[in-house]
Each structure stands twice: as C-alpha cells, then as structure tokens.
C-alpha cells in the first residue's frame, strides 16, 4: 500500500509540472459530459419523460454513473493503456520486480485530469437531489454510496478484462469500448427503457443494472415487495471485480514476451 501511495505522489507531481495544460485538460474533461447532459436536457424538454422516468430521476442515474466512471478512469488508467506496456515490452520489467503485477500496473498511470469529469458528475448529483423530493434516511444514503463504489468496481473490472486480452492479441481492443464507453452511455439511462435481452445482459453478465437502475428503484421508492433485495444489489456489482482479477492472474501466467 505504501508503494501505491508513492506511485500516486510521483505521478501527481509529474502531471503538475505542466500546470496550464493540466487545468485546460480538466476543463475539457468537464465539457465532454456537459454536452451530453445538455443534450439530455433538450430531449426531456421536448418529450417530457421516458417510460415514466422524469428528467431529474434520469439525472441522478447519469451522475452516479459518471462519478463512478471518472474515478475508475483516474485510478485504473494503467490497465486502460496496458497494450502500450505489452507492445514496448515493458511488462517484462514489471514481472521481474518482487511486487505484485496488479499493483504495479495499477500504479503505472493516473489520469488526474478526470477531476473535471468528476466535478461535472457531482454538480449534476447535487442538482438532481435538490430537485427530487426523496425521503432520505441512513439506508438510502448508504445505498447511494454503495452504488458509486459498485460502479467503480464494475468499470475497473472491465478495464482489467480488456488489459488481459492484450496478452493474446493487441488488435481489435477497440471492442472493449463497447463495455466501457458504451456501458457508461447506456447505463446513464434507467435500464428498463431498453429491450428485455439488453437489460438482462447488462444486469446479470455485466452488472451495470445493479449499479444504477435497481438500487435507484429503491431510492426513488418505486419498489414493490422486498426492498432489502434492491438495496443490496450494488454488492453484486462489487463482486464483479473478483472474477476479473482471477482472469488477470491467469493471463499473466500465459504471457509470452514480444522479445528483443
């Protein structure tokens, strides 16, 4: 853990060397989801609601996903850009060091400019909570926090899976974007607006539904029946990362260097 903080500090200092570039990039990161959010607003202005969900309810969904995505992109960026490490043969260096590969790859890169995106998510979250009349209690707050943690774990899990793919091929990694960027765009709406099979796939196989849609039903009091079950769904999302880690270890065992 101490090693991890050391990585963190060094990389933060390195990125802060280019201060203006850093703040400009953060500003840019603020505006990317901002334009998507503006689009969302215009659509609701025209259509009113989407399958019974109002604008602020969808905004809450949107903010949770974007907060989770920005945090995991900041910290798990090392896995996201892992193909570079394999191509350059730098992964061999990591293998000979007496520390876990997971920790070293995780610490190889941080993307601090994602703070802009995070800020945008937080602003939307506050806006949504302000305008929704939710009867808050301790369980609902806990669920909200769990949702964000669960989202981070799902996104990080996907980054790890995509990185593991690099052990076998580095072509066509773009497909993984379906699950990171695509998953983000998809789960910023409540999942029940999609077709049944899409909803099922993104609830049971890749548990985005457990991050936003199902626990949101609990927070917004849309649940009929067993509330506890809906409250605990984010935990399933958190469990998602464990099989991903197993796959990673399997991949490391099968790694063959590019040589030279």
């Amino acid at each position: 853990m101490r090693l991890y903080f050391k990585y963190f500090k060094i990389l933060l200092k390195a990125q802060m060397q280019y201060r203006i570039s850093f703040w400009l990039l953060s500003l840019g990161q603020f505006f990317i989801p901002f334009s998507v959010f503006a689009a969302l607003y215009f659509l609701f202005e025209r259509f009113g609601s989407i399958k019974g969900w109002t604008y602020y309810e969808v905004a809450l969904c949107f903010s949770v996903i974007h907060i989770a995505f920005s945090i995991s992109e900041c910290f798990a960026r090392g896995f996201d850009s892992f193909s570079g490490l394999v191509v350059r043969g730098e992964f061999d260096r990591i293998l000979v060091r007496p520390r876990s590969t997971f920790m070293q790859v995780l610490g190889s890169k941080f993307e601090f400019t994602r703070i802009g995106r995070l800020l945008q998510g937080v602003v939307v979250l506050i806006l949504a909570i302000w305008n929704l009349s939710i009867q808050w209690n301790i369980f609902k707050v806990a669920t909200l926090v769990l949702m964000i943690i669960s989202g981070i774990s799902v996104f990080t899990g996907i980054f790890i899976l995509a990185a593991t793919l690099c052990f076998w091929t580095i072509q066509g990694i773009e497909v993984a974007n379906i699950f990171t960027d695509g998953g983000r765009e998809m789960s910023q709406y409540p999942l029940n607006i999609y077709k049944k099979w899409v909803t099922r796939f993104f609830t049971f196989v890749i548990p985005f539904g457990c991050v936003s849609y199902l626990p949101l039903m609990y927070i917004l009091d849309k649940v009929e029946g067993n509330k506890l079950l809906f409250m605990l769904t984010p935990l399933y999302g958190i469990l998602f990362i464990f099989p991903c880690l197993l796959v990673w270890r399997f991949g490391v065992k099968h790694y063959k260097s590019t040589g030279s």
């Binding site: 570039s21 400009l24 990039l25 840019g28 505006f31 990317i32 334009s35 998507v36 503006a38 689009a39 215009f42 659509l43 202005e45 025209r46 259509f47 009113g48 609601s49 989407i50 399958k51 019974g52 072509q171 066509g172 990694i173 773009e174 497909v175 974007n177 379906i178 695509g182 765009e185 998809m186 709406y189 607006i193 999609y194 077709k195 899409v198």
Partner: protein, 267 residues
C-alpha cells in the same frame, strides 16, 4: 495535381491495412447504433407532441451517422502530422516541391476515405436487412439520393478544411490535445452528433445553422431521408460551397503565416 493524387493513393492503401481494427470498429458502431435507436424509441413512445422528425427518418439518420462516422468527426486525427510539427521533421515536408496545404489536404481526405470504405459497407448492408423498427429505409426518392451523395462529398471537403485549423493551431500551441478537445466537443455538438439538430430548442438551432459544422453530418443525413426537402438541399449545397471557399482561403493564409514563423532547431 498528380503529386496530390499519388499521396492520396498511398494513404488509401496504407489505411486499408488495418482490417481487424476496422472490424472491431464496425462491432462498436453497431452497438452504438442499436443503443441510440432504443433510447429514441423509448422517448417516442412517451412523446406528448409530434416530434420534428419521424422515427423512421431518425433510424436512417442514426445508421448513416454510424456508417460514415469517420467522415463527420473532428477528433479523427493524423498523429503523424502532429509529430511532424512538434518533432521538427516538418523541415522535410517543407523541402517537397508542392504546396503544403494541398499536400496535407489530400492526405487527410484519403485517410478518412479509407477509414470509411472499410466500415460503411458492412454497416449499411446489415442495417438495410434489420427488421423494423431498427431497419434502415431507402432514400426518400431518387433526387434525394443524388443530393445525398453530393452533400456528403462536399461535406467531407468542408470538414477536412475545418480540421486543418487544428493542425495549424499546433504550430502555436505545440500540443494538439487542447484544441482538439475543444473544437471536437463543440463541433460534434453543433453538427448534430449528440442529438440531431431538430431536437434542439429553436435558439440553439439558429446558432447551429449559422456554423459550418452541420454541413458534414446533419445536412446529408436529413437530405437522405427527405426530412430536408429538395429545394432546401440545393440551398444547402450552395452554403457548403461558400463555406468551403472561405475555409480553404483562410486556412491557406493561416498556414503560410505559421510557416513563416516556424523555427526548426538542430539537424
């Protein structure tokens, strides 16, 4: 002219090499297409007033957008050109006996064409075969189709002339990321890339119609489905030509200005 053509051909062949990457791109684009259509379908079901564009027209719009993505996004870039500028290898480019603006212009168009050629046919063919409501419909009529091809081609020329400004800006800033991000986000929004322009409120539509970004995407796609009638499409073509002349003249001027100040260090 011959020199520009051979640069064009070279890049085209080069771009065609990356077939697996293109295939992965196709898969990704199908996912996006399906997702957007599902979202709009859900919105249309709860619509209280008649939307400004029919669902069928919108579906065609979405598939065209996915198929010709390489034609319409500003952030599709040539890393090589950026490297040339920041590393000082620009000196070689300056030695070539042809004008730099035209040279790069041909290069960039070829790159986009090769990217689109690999992707657009599989997407369009499958999109035509899909069942309702996901299936793409045929163009509204024959003249709409002809006008679609014309506006799409002119739109590509306009878009590349806009993207030239990003490359020129690197001479000043030395880092492409900032200008790419800002122009990319604004351009994408005002081209109708995030939501189609008819869905925007009227004050924003007015801004979008003044800017050149919509000429590459919004105009041809809506001409195809007949959402923009023939006579308006002809006006659109005129607008495209005027913008093209303005942008190329300005771009050439800016590039020459930037080249006058360029300093190449070392050797």
């Amino acid at each position: 002219m011959k020199a520009y053509f051979s640069v064009f051909k070279m890049r085209l062949i080069n771009g065609m090499q990356y077939r697996v990457a293109a295939l992965a791109g196709v898969a990704t684009q199908f996912f996006w297409g399906f997702m957007f259509i599902m979202i709009y379908e859900a919105f249309y079901q709860s619509a209280v007033q008649t939307p400004p564009i029919e669902l069928k027209q919108l579906v065609s719009y979405m598939w065209l957008q996915q198929a010709f993505l390489v034609f319409i996004v500003l952030w599709y870039r040539d890393g090589e050109l950026f490297n040339l500028i920041t590393s000082g290898n620009i000196a070689y480019e300056l030695c070539r006996p042809c004008e730099l603006y035209g040279f790069w212009y041909a290069k960039l168009i070829a790159q986009r064409l090769s990217g689109a050629m690999l992707r657009c046919f599989p997407i369009l063919i499958v999109a035509f075969l899909l069942p309702d409501p996901y299936g793409m419909s045929l163009p509204a009529n024959f003249s709409a189709f002809v006008l679609f091809v014309a506006t799409l081609t002119l739109g590509l020329l306009v878009l590349v002339s806009i993207s030239m400004f990003i490359y020129i800006s690197v001479f000043v800033t030395m880092s492409p990321i900032g200008s790419l991000l800002m122009i990319g986000v604004a351009g994408d929004f005002f081209a109708g890339g995030i939501i189609p322009i008819p869905f925007m409120p009227s004050w924003l539509q007015r801004i979008a119609y003044v800017l050149p970004f919509r000429l590459a995407a919004d105009l041809p796609f809506r001409v195809y489905s007949g959402n923009i009638p023939v006579n308006e499409a002809l006006v659109g073509i005129l607008t495209q030509v005027i913008w093209l002349v303005i942008l190329v003249t300005l771009g050439r001027f800016a590039l020459n200005k930037a080249l006058q100040r360029v300093v190449v260090q070392g050797g």
